[in-house]
């Protein structure tokens, strides 16, 4: 009986490992492809064998493909957007959790419904608007429309729900105003919620393609647009440089994921299980 159970376990581990391999293998191949000699056949390169060539390719990717510049640009607009999301969503979450106001249920329903609406639908009016405000191809133009995020309001509300209402009440008895309560009590107590939101939103906005591609032109180069232009078959570059560029572009989101893994998974779980 015992040995049978053990065998069962091993089979299950093997099965689970197969998909794990499918998940990680591409990344490994990407890595070993970059750090290999030009003479190696890329289809059969499974192990890195040349550090110097890899570094040269990375340099080329950073400069020629403009990965470095796009990373900086993307970092700027992503940070601005995430900061905006934080201000808007945390205030909204605070309101929705602790206050009663007319039409609250309706407004909340609308907020949740907007999570289901396809992004493409409001992208056209937004584009018109940004264009009319002469904000096309500026950091402000990319960031503002992405700052409204129902998902982050929702995630933050999940964290606020654990906060006892008596905290707010006692503060109000002591004569604190709305913004005092918000700044002194709610914000410090929802640190985890804020961190989760930041991590989730950062990764989400980093990967945005449709909107940044639409709104940018000559000046700003989002990383997503740079990479997709590079993949254009008419744009010939050395295959290893291509791979190196993808490898470098992978670093920021992967770093965030590896550092904040717990928050990422918690946030995703929360948005799914409770929603």
């Amino acid at each position: 009986m015992k040995t049978k159970k053990k065998r069962e376990q091993w089979i299950l581990i093997m099965l689970a490992a197969v998909w794990g391999l499918v998940c990680l293998f591409p990344l490994w191949v990407l890595f070993s492809g970059t750090f290999s000699l030009d003479t190696n056949n890329l289809t059969r390169t499974f192990f890195p064998n040349s550090l110097t060539n890899g570094i040269a390719k990375c340099k080329e990717a950073l400069v020629t493909v403009e990965i470095a510049a796009s990373t900086v640009h993307t970092l700027i607009y992503t940070s601005v957007t995430v900061a905006g999301i934080l201000v808007i969503s945390s205030l909204a979450a605070y309101e929705f959790t602790f206050y009663h106001f007319p039409l609250k249920r309706l407004l909340f329903g609308l907020l949740m419904a907007s999570m289901m609406l396809p992004q493409v639908l409001y992208i056209i009016p937004l584009y018109r608007l940004v264009f009319a405000m002469k904000l096309a191809d500026t950091f402000a133009g990319i960031s503002f429309p992405m700052m409204v995020s129902a998902l982050s309001v929702f995630v933050m509300m999940q964290f606020l729900e654990d906060l006892p209402l008596s905290f707010i009440e006692s503060a109000r008895i002591d004569g604190a105003g709305h913004f005092q309560i918000y700044g002194r009590i709610v914000l410090p107590l929802m640190r985890n919620g804020i961190l989760t939101t930041v991590v989730l939103m950062f990764m989400k906005i980093w990967g945005q393609y449709l909107w940044p591609a639409l709104v940018t032109g000559q000046k700003i180069k989002p990383i997503s647009v740079t990479i997709s232009n590079m993949l254009n078959p008419n744009f010939w570059i050395d295959p290893r440089t291509k791979i190196a560029a993808m490898l470098i572009a992978m670093i920021p989101p992967m770093t965030i994921y590896l550092t904040f893994q717990r928050y990422v998974i918690e946030g995703i779980t929360m948005s799914g299980v409770k929603g």
């Binding site: 794990g20 493409v120 056209i124 393609y209 449709l210 639409l214 997709s228």
Partner: protein
């Protein structure tokens, strides 16, 4: 807005044209309409297949890893989530490299076992859709897995204990306890999957080289989807460009809302 003839280049002078945009895109006459209807056809193939394969995969993975120790489970969860962390444009990039005929790893491996030999995946009918499906499932399985397994963790262990005392096998426990109790989670995953699958855009756009307006969707639009057609209309400018794009968007939204409403209704009946 879907009832007007505005375009990117029209300033101020926007005319109301009633249902013209809708009749145009649904008529089947002219390039815009043919392309749009074709993209809808692709979508009809793509959505159910992606959802069913992707969900069964994540469900199977969740069931498997559930039987393992806590530590192994977290390790696998960490690994499975990696593809989802990668932005879609990178997934598309990596897979484009893998699936290039002759030089791509996966394409040549598949050719060796006789699948799609001598075929360019991104420009052959049906193969192109499967291609997009593979990338999407690879990317989203981790997300679904995390949610499903979190739902499984919420199921009370008492139930399993009771079942064990009654002599239920592992398989019986799965089908009789886990899956029925997981219903709300599965419902969420399916609804969410539907909404996002209907809007598939990034992956096929990049793979089929959408930055060149003439090649959106690949030759013969084998890989074109409604959102791509919308964006194409925006970029294309021309008379009524935006109006048509809006009309396409509204049609798509109607479908999404209808599907979601049906799902909610069907669920209420069951519970």
């Amino acid at each position: 807005m879907s009832f007007t003839d505005w375009s990117v280049s029209s300033r101020g002078s926007v005319n109301f044209v009633g249902l013209d945009n809708y009749t145009l895109i649904l008529s089947g006459k002219g390039t815009t309409s043919v392309r749009f209807l074709n993209s809808v056809k692709n979508l009809v193939i793509y959505v159910p297949l992606t959802l069913s394969i992707g969900l069964s995969l994540s469900l199977a993975l969740a069931l498997i890893t559930r039987q393992l120790s806590r530590k192994l489970f977290s390790v696998f969860r960490g690994i499975y989530f990696v593809p989802y962390v990668l932005p879609l444009f990178l997934c598309a990039g990596i897979w484009q490299w893998f699936m290039t005929t002759g030089t791509g790893l996966v394409a040549s491996a598949l050719a060796n076992i006789g699948i799609g030999r001598g075929i360019t995946w991104d420009s052959t009918k049906y193969y192109a859709i499967i291609y997009v499906m593979m990338v999407d499932i690879w990317n989203s399985a981790g997300f679904n897995f995390v949610i499903i397994s979190a739902g499984m963790a919420d199921i009370s262990p008492d139930l399993y204990e009771a079942a064990e005392i009654d002599g239920a096998s592992t398989f019986q426990k799965m089908t009789k306890i886990t899956i029925p109790l997981l219903e709300p989670i599965l419902f969420f995953v399916i609804t969410y999957g539907f909404i996002s699958a209907l809007q598939v855009y990034d992956i096929p756009w990049i793979i089929s080289n959408g930055s060149d307006i003439n090649s959106v969707g690949g030759p013969g639009q084998v890989m074109s989807f409604p959102v791509m057609e919308m964006v194409r209309n925006i970029y294309l400018g021309g008379k009524s460009g935006l109006g048509r794009a809006c009309a396409e968007g509204v049609s798509l939204m109607t479908v999404i809302l209808a599907v979601t409403a049906i799902q909610f209704k069907a669920r209420r009946k069951k519970v």
